[in-house]
């Protein structure tokens, strides 16, 4: 009886969590006009989640491109199609790897720090203090971080993809000897700007950016105000957003392709 009750509680609890998350998103969206007053705060967050993530994104992008070039070259060599290396690297990166890997890195790099920061604000009563001063914490703390994540993700993803192409080129052309012109012409011939770059890269990364930011600020804002609670919320941000990214990736691919 109690086990059943427990299971029911988990079900109802997770439903309630999703519901709270949705309502929280509504609160953020309604607070966005108000948060325009704190545009400088948004810029600071953009610096923090975007510009500060560049190093890891660029490094990872380079290596993902390099390993793709290496793997694809050897697989395509079996079929005598090494000239397609460029286009396959580009397609793989634009459609899947770019948005997904960037999103996973972003959740780990930026999502966690947003959660931890907001969680600590909550734990040290800074949010309560803001409310006392009639400063809306949603408009001043949450919305800027949400917007910054939304803007930063597509830009980071573009940087990631650019570096991946560069890495693929480095391995395939400079190292393995695919012809430079073939590499690029094959790529430009097979990659379509709307289907691959806009639908694959931009839309996916925008959605992922919104989801990661929402989960991060939500977990931070609703964390129990203890040090254990903050640690727990940070973990949950990574786990939940990773699952959400991979599940949404499938759904988005099915819709956009």
């Amino acid at each position: 009886m109690s086990a059943q009750l427990g299971r029911e509680n988990i079900l109802i609890g997770s439903l309630a969590q999703i519901g709270r998350c949705g309502l929280f998103l509504l609160r953020i969206l309604t607070a966005i006009p108000l948060s325009m007053r704190y545009a400088r705060e948004t810029v600071r967050q953009l610096w923090f989640v975007g510009a500060m993530s560049l190093t890891i994104i660029m490094t990872c992008g380079l290596f993902v491109g390099m390993v793709l070039g290496l793997q694809l070259y050897h697989v395509l060599a079996i079929f005598g199609g090494t000239s397609a290396t460029g286009s396959v690297v580009a397609l793989a990166v634009y459609r899947e790897l770019g948005p997904v890997v960037t999103a996973l890195l972003f959740a780990g790099r930026a999502g966690t720090s947003i959660t931890a920061e907001i969680g600590l604000m909550r734990a040290t009563d800074q949010i309560a203090a803001m409310e006392m001063m009639a400063v809306d914490p949603i408009a001043y703390v949450i919305a800027p971080r949400f917007l910054a994540g939304l803007v930063a993700m597509p830009l980071l993803c573009c940087v990631f993809c650019g570096l991946s192409i560069f890495g693929g080129h480095l391995v395939a052309v400079d190292w393995l000897g695919v012809d430079n012109g073939t590499f690029w012409s094959n790529m430009t011939a097979n990659v379509n700007v709307w289907n691959d770059v806009v639908n694959g890269l931009i839309w996916k990364s925008l959605v992922f950016g919104a989801v990661i930011s929402l989960i991060a600020v939500f977990q931070g804002y609703t964390t129990p105000p203890t040090s254990e609670g903050v640690a727990y919320a940070t973990t949950r941000t990574v786990v939940t957003s990773s699952i959400a990214i991979l599940a949404l990736d499938f759904v988005l691919t099915a819709f956009l392709m």
Binding site: G50, L54, L155, C158, W184, V197
Partner: protein, 291 residues
């Protein structure tokens, strides 16, 4: 304040870098197939089969892109596809009697519409109609033409059947081409084992237009290329009589088995094994009488 300024500059740099990367990806690594600038005009063409042609596929003249496919609709009532082509205004001097053909770029590439210039003095204008079109050639049709298998060969006025006995047919299958001088003249319609003679009976359907084949011609099973499919080659003889329906080709040469060939190579000088074999084995290079 200076602290604040430094991150503002950094953020600005980040945004510029992001957009620069986007611009680079969008312009340098993709084909901007669907963006056409400037004025254009539409012409329409009707095709009986558009194959895999898609909207926004390129329209090319001499291989150079001049426009794109705007829409593809099925003409109601007729099994004809209406294709509207959007052509850039600067290519306004396309003769009115040009031919529109659906081509495939490469073996596996996308399809596009190619325009071959006619010789008319009048030019295609907005809304005009390309009267001469050539539809896509399905790969299957081309292959079957090439291989001379049933479909294409039968269509041209019937076939007649002849049989041949082989001691070994290798991987010969029904539908394999029958060739003379390398040209497909028919196809294999049946391969089965003869329960009495203990060899393989191959029935071939040969196109009726090739009815002058001498009846002492030899049939051999060859392989096209190293890993290609096998086919029956007819090597004409010198008899004044021609093959007729139901005739049998007595001179045959079986499929060469790679194993036999290698075995011969390795134990050269001891061909005695062949003599024990009543029918002669498949590795014999002479199409001389085994029957």
């Amino acid at each position: 304040m200076s602290q604040r300024k430094s991150y503002a500059v950094g953020t600005g740099l980040f945004i510029v870098l992001g957009f620069a990367a986007l611009a680079y990806l969008a312009t340098q690594t993709t084909s901007v197939v669907n963006s056409h600038q400037g004025a254009s005009y539409t012409v329409d063409a009707q095709f009986s089969d558009i194959g895999q042609l898609k909207e926004r596929a390129p329209v090319k003249v001499a291989g150079v892109r001049v426009g794109q496919v705007q829409s593809i609709t099925l003409d109601p009532g007729k099994a004809v596809a209406d294709v509207t082509l959007l052509i850039d205004k600067k290519f306004s001097q396309i003769p009115a009697n040009s031919v529109a053909t659906i081509y495939t770029s490469g073996l596996l590439g996308d399809q596009y519409v190619g325009l071959q210039y006619g010789n008319a003095k009048a030019y295609l204008a907005n809304g005009s109609h390309v009267g001469l079109t050539k539809s896509t050639q399905p790969l299957e049709e081309m292959l079957s033409k090439f291989l001379g298998s049933n479909g294409a060969a039968d269509a041209i006025g019937g076939t007649y059947k002849v049989t041949a006995h082989f001691t070994n047919v290798g991987a010969l299958t029904v539908g394999a081409p029958v060739k003379m001088a390398g040209v497909a003249i028919g196809s294999v319609s049946d391969v089965k084992a003869d329960p009495v003679k203990l060899d393989a009976t191959v029935t071939m359907s040969i196109n009726k237009q090739y009815n002058q084949i001498p009846d002492d011609s030899a049939a051999a099973i060859f392989t096209s290329g190293l890993i290609g499919t096998q086919y029956v080659a007819i090597q004409p003889g010198g008899s004044p009589n021609s093959l007729k329906e139901g005739d049998q080709l007595v001179l045959t040469q079986s499929a060469v088995q790679l194993e036999d060939l290698i075995g011969k190579f390795l134990v050269s000088g001891s061909p005695s094994g062949n003599n024990n074999n009543a029918g002669g084995n498949g590795s014999s290079n002479q199409p001389a009488g085994k029957h």
